[in-house]
Symmetry: C4
Subunit: 260 residues, 4 copies
């Protein structure tokens, strides 16, 4: 067991810009990223904590993430560009999230991933701490959960006295390794991280992962559960996730109405 | 076990109109159908997914269903007419729900049914996956649930690698067969479908089926449960469902206030 | 076992006025009764069903109750006066609640009772159907629940094929007998009825009975529970229920804001 | 066992002012205290009951607390100053909370404490009554809960027929003793009290103590739980509670929007 990464960190970080921006992201993904922050709050996936990132659509070795703040309040001027080392490109004095390494290391490991949501939603946290239990796909909307989401135990990479936060490239890499063949990873005593091929898909998955966890908590108390087969999981992802625009449009409309 | 119906389907479907409309439905049922879409969302029965249909009041071999969209946003121009084969009459290029076969085959099998609600409400899903457990009427508002709602296991008709969706006449018929003597059927890992003699009754039942499931989940954790007798279930349906206009009017008022 | 009271009843009743009003109730209790209807809805105690009554402050052998309608919509013109036989005094063609006998027979049996709430709140219903389980006071706000609320089993007075509704003086009396030494009675598969010395106290008790049930459901799943002693229950009622105006004023303000 | 403190008390108290105010608190802490009252209501920690106090920033032997009222309605003119004996300084006829002794005795015992929240939040109450169960830190946001929050059993100091309220200096001291090495104490059948080094920190802790309890209730039903180690708890407090301004600012914005 390694103990090099524990200790206390300020989770809002002053970070000097160490790279330069060369090309602007498209206005569309910035707009979607802002909306996603609001939607994740409205849908109860994040509270004042949690974050969503998107890979830069002009530079696949960069990603965009809000500055350190509550997602529900994010606006265009709060978006910061980062390198895959988690270095800020244009923070310009704005404090950034300590846990940007979650996003950096997943984008590095998984070129197919375009968006990453990290959250502590209400039913995910309890499932993450019960020994021998794994989140498994139990309804058609959550086929992406698959046959058992890995649980990241930070003690293996960071020792048993960390603040549980992914506060370094080392810890980010240890987490990212769990995404080999999985699109969601639970983090013991902390929450989960979920990835998608677009902002809309990642947001969809974060919402329905929480519902799958909620339903699983209830069903497990009553008896043996019939989970989706591997074939069912795959078929559900293929057909239902082609529809992620349907909830997105509804959530977007709600998010706008609430902020009017 | 048959495997002919699994595989992945786009769940929003482009469908050429293959029949022609001959008579317009009454404005009243169209208005009620729109309101029902909003109410089911407001009451938490559907989210961006789920749908409600009504039998055409001028042509019992036709039914009305929204185009593929979130129920909370349905308006008059979104209503499409279908045949009992699930063929669109006047889609005119609008995408339709893949699962229209649920409605088509139930309307075909059950001439007494005037409205069908398909949803994935929060307490129904967990009950649908616990082996050996059935939804049973446990309070007077849900007598229609009866002595044990059947659970539709799609693997029997579609094999073990489907997307769980009712994506064909074949699967629709397999589901509809479970409505022999039952007004609600759970669908394993998916949700439920409930029928009524009117839009108001079907909406009422969808709301109270969810409550019955919620209460049953809680009661089963504490000990042995006293369910309604068959006589009690029948008496409850007869007297309480004569009152479905009472919640309907309240829900309608709320739905209108929220959309003002 | 008597079977004379089962069978199906219309639960909205056309009732000819068989007595005459002699004195008007004070405007204050009418105003409080209307507010109580709204508050019980806002606080989740009633949905479109459930009702609250108050004893007529000019004639103790009469009581006031809304006409058959959703409590959230009650206004001054909806209040009807009844005799302790459940006969309408001034319905004047307005449909009345089938279950007015709950109120009539409790007001007859308990001269100290000034207000009665009948509801089907979310945690009360599951507790009412678990064999061998009773609602017991487990926190200081619900001392009035006491050492175990009786459960009314309608099968004893009405047979095993009723609609569970208190649809006659006979059933009302059978229920009222359970209020001997108790201020709340659960009704199996139906809900509860709670009484108070004022509208404010009855509303307070209906809200906190639901919370006690909710907490009890959760605690019983974890292990043995320490309930209030009889002495604690009594002391809590004496000191805390002297404060029922505090939540009332807050709820009233909320109810008015929502209806503005 | 002492029985001198039980019996019934009016929980809204008329209290003659017995000391004089010498220096005004800063407008900032008064403003924060008002906001904290609103936020605790909005976030579901308090209903019409519960209270928050702050130590006077000009006189550490005094503290500020609202007069007896629902927290959601507190305004500047409702703030009263008290001595560490729980005597009112400037009530000027306004009724005060019976339970001011909670605050007085904790401020006396713990000079490091600047704010105290007493509440009956929904998941804390059930955990407080299950024999052999203690609230333990199970996720990173609630490190302050530590390795097992003490449960205050009022029967030890007040006998078995109290109203469970902290209605005297004697009971306040008995409660305050449990804060030796702990920042949260559960109160059997009543709720909890949590302390912080600032209003923002105490509010943060009250919100996340409730979430920890909620998650713990769910996790304990499924199997053995991995709680935070002592080292993890400490590290979480150090890094995450440096961020309490982030949720505070969001909650404040919500509180203001709701009261506009």
């Amino acid at each position: 067991m390694c103990t090099s990464d524990h200790g206390n960190h300020p989770i809002a970080v002053d970070l000097a810009d160490t790279a330069t921006a060369s090309v602007a992201p498209s206005p569309e993904i910035v707009e979607d990223l802002i909306a996603a922050n609001h939607i994740l709050f409205d849908q109860g996936v994040v509270d004042a904590f949690g974050h969503i990132s998107v890979r830069h659509d002009g530079r696949p070795d960069r990603f965009l993430l809000a500055r350190n703040m509550a997602p529900s309040r994010v606006a265009a001027e709060d978006i910061v560009e980062f390198t895959l080392d988690g270095e800020a490109v244009n923070a310009a004095g704005r404090k950034v999230y300590l846990e940007r390494f979650i996003h950096a290391e997943i984008f590095r490991k998984r070129p197919d991933v375009m968006a990453v949501v990290h959250s502590h939603s209400h039913s995910i946290v309890p499932l993450s701490v019960v020994k021998g239990t794994r989140l498994k796909a139990m309804f058609h909307m959550a086929g992406f959960v698959g046959q058992g989401a890995p649980v990241f135990e930070i003690r293996e990479a960071g020792g048993d006295a960390t603040d549980l936060l992914i506060s370094s490239n080392h810890l980010g890499r240890a987490l990212a390794e769990h995404f080999d063949g999985h699109d969601i990873v639970l983090m013991r005593g902390h929450g989960s991280t979920v990835v998608g091929g677009s902002i809309k898909q990642a947001v969809y998955r974060a919402v329905y992962a929480e519902l799958n966890a909620r339903y699983q908590l209830q069903a497990m108390q009553l008896g043996e559960v019939t989970y989706l087969t591997e074939g069912e999981s795959r078929a559900c992802v293929a057909s239902i996730e082609a529809q992620v625009h349907r909830p997105w449009e509804m959530w977007l409309e709600q998010a706008r109405a609430r902020r009017r």
